[in-house]
């Protein structure tokens, strides 16, 4: 447990929590929440610069890319081509190969489009990107993505931004069991116990944004998530007791008066 580091694409991290940097009130709050979460990897979006007002504050001025590993994502992309273009630009802007691929299929559910995701993953891996991939909770699709060379598989626990918690523990566990690369629950976590559940299932990490950013006190929730991920990981290693149908007294019955 002491040397339990999270490894992805040849890099090693002590934190197993990855946080998004969207939806916060301002950059100050973003920076404080990221700090409290203990996360070492943060997801960032790639967007057009406002050329009319170049003096607007920039994220890099608040979250030092030397201190945090920026994980550019393709949030908002609905086709493989858009996702590929976005990540090529991200690599040029940042200068690193580690990216998060996410191709959405539907505005209402934000469910991943796996056909486009597979296509994009194939192209990006040929171009030497290290691809962490957001995907459906389908073990067959997860295996295909791993076979293509994705460096982390990230199935949703529930729809993006829903905060419903881990709705699919059976599928998540199947994906973890078969995978030879890290598996992270990406999307669906609502509160600390959800993060702990994901980690108790044996996930290598959890990625979240809304659960922290839309909490009443985002910085306090970031701290809670930090602890929950650590607690869940510790419980996974400890090995939970078997579930029983009936009571089992903790105090010995012998010697009762």
């Amino acid at each position: 447990m002491d040397n339990d580091s999270f490894k992805v694409a040849g890099m090693s991290f002590s934190s197993r929590l990855i946080v998004g940097t969207g939806k916060y009130k301002d950059f100050e709050e973003t920076a404080l929440a990221v700090e409290a979460s203990g996360a070492q990897i943060v997801t960032v979006a790639v967007r057009r610069v406002n050329v009319m007002d170049p003096n607007q504050p920039m994220l890099v001025d608040y979250l030092d890319p030397k201190k945090y590993t920026y994980l550019p994502n393709t949030a908002g992309c609905f086709t493989a081509d858009d996702a590929i273009r976005t990540l090529r630009l991200a690599r040029e802007a940042g200068g690193w190969n580690l990216v998060k691929l996410e191709v959405l299929g539907d505005q209402k559910t934000l469910y991943p489009n796996m056909v486009e995701t597979l296509h994009a993953a194939e192209v990006l891996i040929k171009e030497n990107f290290d691809v962490m991939v957001y995907c459906s909770d389908d073990p067959i699709m997860a295996q295909r993505l791993e076979d293509l060379g994705c460096c982390a598989i990230m199935p949703l626990g529930a729809p993006i931004g829903s905060g419903l918690g881990i709705q699919n523990p059976v599928q998540i566990r199947l994906i973890i069991e078969q995978a030879n690369v890290p598996v992270l629950v990406d999307a669906g976590v609502g509160t600390a116990s959800d993060a702990a559940v994901a980690m108790e299932l044996g996930c290598d990490g959890v990625l979240m944004n809304t659960a922290i950013a839309e909490a009443k006190d985002p910085i306090a929730m970031a701290r809670a998530m930090n602890l929950a991920v650590q607690a869940g990981r510790a419980a996974y290693f400890a090995g939970r007791m078997p579930k029983k149908l009936y009571a089992d007294p903790s105090s010995p019955l012998a010697g009762l008066i």
Binding site: F27, V49, A75, G76, R91, M208
Partner: protein
């Protein structure tokens, strides 16, 4: 002057202006942005050599806060 499209909007620049000069004019730090020209990534090392042409379509992007979808 030549007409280009900059982040989706029409823009006029001096003929022969380099991409590097354009970023300077826009007060953008070349280290913090990435540029796509006519759907091709422009390597940072070539900003000085790229001369803007009539009809060029430029996308200049940077990192912003983003988690899922709402980016």
């Amino acid at each position: 002057m030549v007409n280009i499209t900059l982040n989706g909007d029409p823009h006029k620049v001096q003929k022969g202006l380099s991409l590097y000069d354009l970023l300077q004019d826009l007060k953008l730090d070349p280290g913090k942005v990435a540029v796509e020209r006519n759907l091709e990534i422009v390597p940072k090392s070539t900003y000085q050599d790229i001369k803007l042409d009539e009809g060029d379509r430029l996308e200049i992007v940077h990192f912003i806060g983003g988690g899922k979808k709402h980016g």
